[in-house]
């Protein structure tokens, strides 16, 4: 008896040892082929079109769905960023724009298949784009900016040819088909889950995917984590082969300091939403790769409501513009991590170019500020509140303290208001805040786009509530201006109006600080300010 049991034990041990030896390297290999991405927010829907979708959901959808076209990338100051002017085919093998600019014809890839194996056809494209412009989804208002408003504009020519008709030439039509919303959905699969009340299968697609994208959902726990695995058949990437990582884990870690610890210890591979102070110290340690790209399609403002006294007086707004402690704010709140939009010198007081945003010729000059206050008839100053949202506290809180301190010197008494995010957006929407800090972002950054969306109309994104007929007219006209020189001229005019009216004060373009394992390569700053997981590989 005894020898047998000894033998069994020996055998078991040997098997165990073998197993261990075998699983060791295997596990290490899977880890190298796995990307672990941690973020403070979370994915809340698998369809980016659902109202309320988070930015993380947008990022995920780029990997799970394909679009007709996608943006190329370019180098900006030595860093890879998306390129609005280089549109390449994704599901489209090629595309032509007619000479009059009114028709865009797409020829679809013949080898493209949805994740369930069925081929991608022009019918699917038609259904998907119809959905984006007719269903109650987020895509509707976005595609509008590219003159894509009705299902009549989309036509199936043959199973692999698809045509888009425009009412007039619009340079944003094509780029709009590359943004997050116009995903191409497996229409047969989606229709099977549509109901009479929900003909576009919104409910089903929120929790399921029916795409042809580079990654397949493996598990989805809203608010916690999403795990995706590689779609081996996918070949729409820039290198015409499947994506690099076999598996991607997208995890929510609410505490920013913990995210910094995770990436520093090598447990996470990539994180983009760290606090500026953590990035600074990680960069100093030089153990990790830090790629900092100024968010060149985003701007942080100090905004004033131009309709609420005393900010309805342009001289008050100018006084504030010359009383903000720009350098201190940039250094203390942002740790200098961004591109400043202050302290420029404009030759003869004229804007140097027609781009947006451009650095403003403002700096702290308290005497000048006092003069403006006097001109406004408020030499003694006034009292107001300065608001920011809790979600931005790590930068906005020190900023607010500095604003308060500096404005006190010219007699403006500031009371700081820290609002939970939902309250802040509500009050901005209702135009109740006189003085606050907020940011904007444009997926398709062009001068007219910025001015049309952020300086016109009684809507939420017009933070300053400016209502300037001249600015409105120039911006609307510039939208369809095909001539580059004329467009630039319009931009110059707009920038000049902006400076003289000073509706709000652009501060800076904060950095997107991507902190990653040194082995990661291919990181590109994307229009939606998230990571496109398909860009990444490990060396």
């Amino acid at each position: 008896m005894q020898p047998t049991s000894f033998k069994t034990m020996f055998r078991a041990t040997a098997v165990l040892a073998l197993l261990l030896a075998a699983t060791g390297p295997l596990q290490a290999q899977t880890r190298a082929e796995t990307l672990r991405y941690v973020t403070g927010a979370s994915v809340n829907t698998l369809d980016p079109n659902i109202p309320g979708a988070t930015r993380e959901s947008f990022a995920l959808s780029l990997s799970t769905y394909d679009r007709l076209v996608s943006f190329g990338r370019k180098q900006l100051n030595g860093k890879w960023v998306f390129d609005l002017d280089k549109i390449t085919g994704e599901l489209a093998e090629s595309f032509d724009v007619s000479p009059d600019g009114l028709k865009i014809t797409f020829r679809l890839r013949k080898d493209a298949k949805f994740q369930d194996g069925s081929p991608v056809t022009a019918e699917d494209v038609k259904w998907s784009l119809d959905r984006a412009v007719t269903a109650p989804v987020l895509g509707k208002n976005q595609l509008l900016t590219g003159s894509l408003t009705s299902a009549d504009q989309f036509k199936v020519i043959d199973p692999h040819t698809f045509e888009v008709t425009l009412p007039k030439p619009d340079k944003l039509a094509l780029p709009n088909l590359a943004v997050v919303y116009p995903i191409i959905i497996n229409s047969k699969l989606a229709k099977a889950h549509a109901t009479a009340e929900d003909p576009w299968a919104l409910a089903w697609l929120k929790e399921n995917t029916a795409g042809s994208g580079a990654y397949v959902i493996e598990s989805f726990k809203p608010g916690e984590q999403v795990i995706v695995k590689r779609n081996e058949a996918w070949n729409r990437g820039t290198t015409d082969k499947a994506a690099f990582f076999k598996r991607i884990i997208i995890q929510s870690v609410p505490e920013p300091a913990t995210r910094a610890n995770l990436v520093e210890r090598g447990d996470a591979d990539l994180v983009i939403d760290l606090q500026a102070s953590d990035v600074q110290s990680l960069e100093a340690k030089a153990k990790l790769k830090v790629i900092s790209t100024p968010q060149y399609n985003a701007v942080t403002f100090v905004s004033m409501n131009n309709q609420i006294p005393p900010f309805d007086n342009v001289n008050v707004r100018r006084a504030v513009a010359f009383a903000l402690p720009y350098d201190d704010m940039f250094k203390a709140a942002l740790f200098g991590r961004g591109a400043p939009l202050f302290g420029a010198t404009w030759e003869a007081g004229k804007p140097p170019n027609g781009g947006y945003p451009i650095p403003q010729p403002v700096k702290v000059d308290l005497d000048k500020a006092r003069e403006y206050l006097k001109a406004a008839g408020l030499p003694e100053g006034f009292a107001t509140t300065f608001s920011f949202n809790v979600g931005q506290a790590s930068t906005a809180e020190p900023m607010a303290a500095l604003v308060k301190e500096s404005l006190a010197k010219i007699g403006i008494k500031v009371d700081i208001q820290k609002l939970p995010d939902a309250q802040m957006s509500t009050q901005i929407n209702e135009k109740k805040l006189p003085f606050f800090t907020e940011g904007i972002v444009a997926w398709l950054p062009s001068t007219d786009y910025f001015y049309r969306n952020f300086y016109i109309g009684n809507q939420r994104w017009n933070y300053s509530s400016i209502n300037n007929p001249e600015l409105t007219a120039i911006a609307q006209e510039a939208r369809f201006e095909p001539d580059k020189a004329k467009y630039e001229e319009a931009g110059l005019k707009l920038n000049a109006i902006h400076f003289s009216e000073m509706p709000q004060i652009p501060l800076w373009q904060p950095n997107q600080d991507a902190v990653m394992a040194p082995s990661l390569e291919g990181y590109t700053y994307q229009f939606h300010r998230q990571v496109d997981y398909r860009d990444l590989s490990r060396k």
């Binding site: 596990q27 880890r31 672990r36 941690v38 979370s42 809340n44 829907t45 659902i50 109202p51 309320g52 979708a53 109650p136 987020l138 509707k140 208002n141 976005q142 509008l144 900016t145 929120k206 929790e207 726990k221 809203p222 608010g223 916690e224 984590q225 795990i227 884990i249 995890q251 929510s252 870690v253 609410p254 505490e255 300091a257 913990t258 610890n261 995770l262 520093e264 210890r265 447990d267 996470a268 809790v390 979600g391 939970p420 995010d421 939902a422 309250q423 802040m424 957006s425 509500t426 009050q427 929407n429 904007i440 972002v441 444009a442 997926w443 969306n453 809507q459 939420r460 994104w461």
Partner: protein, 354 residues
Amino acid sequence: MNQQQVIGRTVRGTLGATMARAGRRFLSSLPALFGVLVFTFLLMRVLPGDPAVFFASGPNASKEDVELIRKQMGLDKSMPEQLALYLYDVGRGNLGRSMMTGQSVTKDLRERLPASLELTFTALLIALVSAIPLGVLAALKPGSIIDHGVRLFCALGVCVPTFVSGLLLIYVFYYLLGLAPDPTGRVDVFTSLPPSRTGFLMIDFLLAGDIEGWWAALKQLILPAMSMALFVIAPLARITRASMLVSLGSDFVRTARSVGLSRRHVVVTYALRNAILPVITIAGIVFSTMLGANVLVEKVFSWPGVASYALDALLSSDYAPVQGFVLLMASLFVLVNLTVDVCYGIADPRVSIE
């Protein structure tokens, strides 16, 4: 009828009576639950944030989008109508939909509650295991240096905010020493989850026979449970000490001592057993307050529990999850109190629940 039967019947009788009393007590707590329901509903509507505006925050969200979300959330109706609809839905077991996660609140809570319960149970266990010996030690020599030491230790535990102790524990045990696993939830992402039977990972892993997974899940539990436990050791140790003092001074302990039973035997079998009832009561209270109060610990340790869920929802004015969470907590509170009462009734038939 022999004596055995008589005793049996009495016990059964008291048990029945206890159950009947518990039932009555449960019924009488229903109005409180209803009050919680209505009060939370109103409180959430008083919040100045408009969830529709918040969630329509895409770069091109328009007024239409806001209206759309408002309609989805039922906010376009009048307040009494909304309340009536809400009560009707709750009556059918539907707690509404969370805008934040895009799921039904019932589903979210069902998935997240085990995480919170597991954490709280573990923390309570750690607290009890350390508090009872501490309390007993202090009671054995009141006024001694040990007594003061215990007192100081307990006071120290309650004077550090849980989020600070949590962050420090992470910094030391994860970042500096590398002893603890990464604080990213209930289990290491590379460990495959066991089939979900109870939702409690510690149990599910055991049922699946996956010891390695069990160990991984336990390691994740230790730090957050410790930071929670630190905070509740004090009340538990205090009550143990107090009831031990009473119990040690009582006649039966003196009798037990005088007949020459060993000191250990007297303390553990006689004194402690009699002193344990008040400790159970306090443990019940501690448990239910902990469930609601572990918001910050869950946040710090990225624990996917119900409290951090409610916190996020509150900050984004997502009504349904907060309402659901409060209702759940209130129900648990009632349930825990009932359990304590029943335990009490069984342990000591003389106690009336009323």
